[in-house]
């Protein structure tokens, strides 16, 4: 199959998957019976309850209800969030900006630290930097993110008093305009270095916590592919012509080792996305994840539905891009099948 045909096929399947996800999301809210439950009070008579159900079309058959909901979503009506006490669409952009800022910072930490660690270890195979990197790599998949965050808080916040909690210092936050909602970007746009420092300072611990797992995955992949590349003939050839080891590593081996690593970077996206929930709880980060956690505990169905639908669509699109990059980088991959 041609790469172009593969992409077209995947693009055709994408909307079908999204519809499938939306049906699952809709069905979820019907597991526990009628969704009006949390809006009712004890004084209402059964007739009044029926009236409310009729007003929102909840007495109609499920497919009709699904259609009405899906139509609303497409028109930008995501419902009322009980937790935020506002329409979901109104609260969503700011929370999304906060979460994206955190996730991208964590991704940045993970990519730079992961590639550096992997290279460092791979070039020193079976010596102590390698062993340390392996410990990081193995622990990354097993370390509960929320526990790591709490440990860091115990050390750097409770004991040393170095790290702040939350997203910003309230007075500095208020001193600049927020056109993008991304605190770091807004600070730079305002040319306010103090605000930028405040933003980075607040980002450091949460980004490190959230990025740890992804760092481990990337470092592990980088290490193993670098070890593999260093055994290739072209590396010997480069050494034989007298190229210093540093350049052999930087110009030849590392570049080739990066190819498989790039695909892993895409795969860590899901990791980061899911991790934002607990990271935001621990560091009191006002993003989507914490909103979701609050909504889960208080039965805020509109928010839960929006969150699951949104993250799934994002996840699907990122996976599509990763698969296409992977297929492009490595034509030996059998497409389709």
């Amino acid at each position: 199959m041609q790469l172009r045909d593969y992409i077209i096929r995947r693009l055709i399947v994408l909307p079908i998957l999204i519809i499938g996800v939306s049906i699952v999301v809709f069905s979820l809210t019907r597991i526990s019976g009628s969704p009006v439950g949390i809006y009712l009070s004890h004084e209402m008579s059964p007739a009044e309850v029926q009236q409310i159900e009729a007003r929102y079309g909840l007495d109609k058959p499920l497919p009709v209800q699904y259609y009405a909901w899906a139509k609303g979503v497409l028109q930008g009506d995501l419902g009322w969030s009980g937790v935020a006490a506002a329409p979901v669409t109104e609260v969503f952009p700011n929370k999304l900006a906060a979460t994206m800022e955190l996730a991208f910072s964590a991704g940045f930490v993970a990519v730079s630290l992961g590639i550096w660690l992997g290279t460092f270890a791979g070039a020193r195979r079976n010596r102590w930097p390698d062993h340390i990197t392996r410990i990081v790599a193995v622990s990354g998949a097993s370390l509960p993110l929320f526990w790591l965050g709490i440990l860091l808080l115990i050390i750097f916040w409770a004991n040393l008093g170095w790290a702040p909690i939350g997203r910003s210092d309230a007075t500095i936050w208020a001193s600049i305009a927020h056109p993008t909602g991304l605190y770091t970007v807004d600070a730079l746009l305002a040319g306010n270095l103090k605000a930028f420092g405040d933003a980075v300072w607040h980002l450091a611990l949460p980004a490190l916590t959230l990025g740890y797992g992804a760092t481990a995955i990337i470092a592990r992949m980088m290490r193993s592919s670098l070890v593999e590349e260093l055994q290739q003939d072209y590396v010997d050839a480069a050494r034989a012509k007298g190229l210093p080891e540093r350049l052999v590593l930087r110009r030849h081996a590392r570049r080739n080792a990066l190819i498989p690593t790039v695909t892993v970077i895409g795969l860590t996206f899901g990791f980061l996305l899911q991790g934002t929930i607990t990271a935001e709880i621990i560091f009191r980060w006002p993003g989507l994840g914490r909103w979701m956690a609050d909504s889960v505990l208080r039965g805020d169905q509109a928010t839960i539905m929006t969150y699951v639908l949104f993250t799934s669509v994002l996840f699907l699109m990122v996976n599509l891009v990763v698969d296409v990059i992977y297929a492009h980088l490595d034509r030996r991959v059998v497409l389709g099948g």
């Binding site: 709490i150 440990l151 592990r220 969150y307």
Partner: protein, 311 residues
Amino acid sequence: MADISQTRLPKSPFRGPTTSVWQVRVLRMRELAANILSNPTTVLGLAIIGMLLGMAIFAPFIAEPNIPDAYQMPRDWGAVRKPPGTPGHILGTTNEGGDVFYGVVWGSRTSLQLSLIVVSATVIIGTIVGSIAGFLGGWVDEVLMRIVDVFLSIPELIFALAIAAMLGPSFSNIIIALSMVIWVKYARIMRAQIIQVKQNEYIDAARVIGDSKINIYFRDILPNSFTPVMVQATLDMGNVVLIGATLSFIGLSEAGIAEWGVLVSEGQAGIASGRWWASTFPGLMIFLWALAFNLVGDGLRDALDPRTEGR
């Protein structure tokens, strides 16, 4: 002096002139075991698992069970917020006077229940669905796999979180939610395996000699398809506890239950006042549990598939 005639030679697994399938399998299992045990990190993982299982099995002898419900944290209101090393509370107590050591010990039982139930349920469901899809093929396969695709489109933790939220907060609902999310992985692995195994010549041979489909499935296809499922199940014994603890941490378990995620969450409130122990020890247990099963799962994968070694 050593008498050579008394020296025992290792028994050959092959007795007699014919070799049965089972003899070959026993031989392979021995080879696999030797291969696994030659990897030090896998042995470390096995040792930690042994320790944790011992803790779960002998919990009533290590920490006296709370009455009436051993899975609830005992409350000692006379010893609230005590640091580790306090007599009777070796790992300290929580804000509500819960003994951290008790939570650590009985939490291993809670985790064992969670992981055993979820992994066995999902392996069974996934194997059945994957087998039907792979064995029958055609439109049945198409429909089942599209459902699997949809399920896999939703990030694992977020999906489980949403289901648990709709079912209401309780530990048994976490078990149900995780089972609903994880079975798809096994369905996909099993289907791929079966399609691959079906192409082998010995399956054709069995068909030619007139074996029934059911016989072929149970005797030839299933046993030869199961190894990747085993590897995944080992990894999931750890992952399930990790995700389950995350859901508990968020608040989807009953409060007061002896579960590591709940304990980390409850301990969080004290860290500002320097009470580090109530979160630290239960979290360490989650880490050790997940680490041990990941180490063994990786070792098992390397042993079964030499191509991935050293990754």
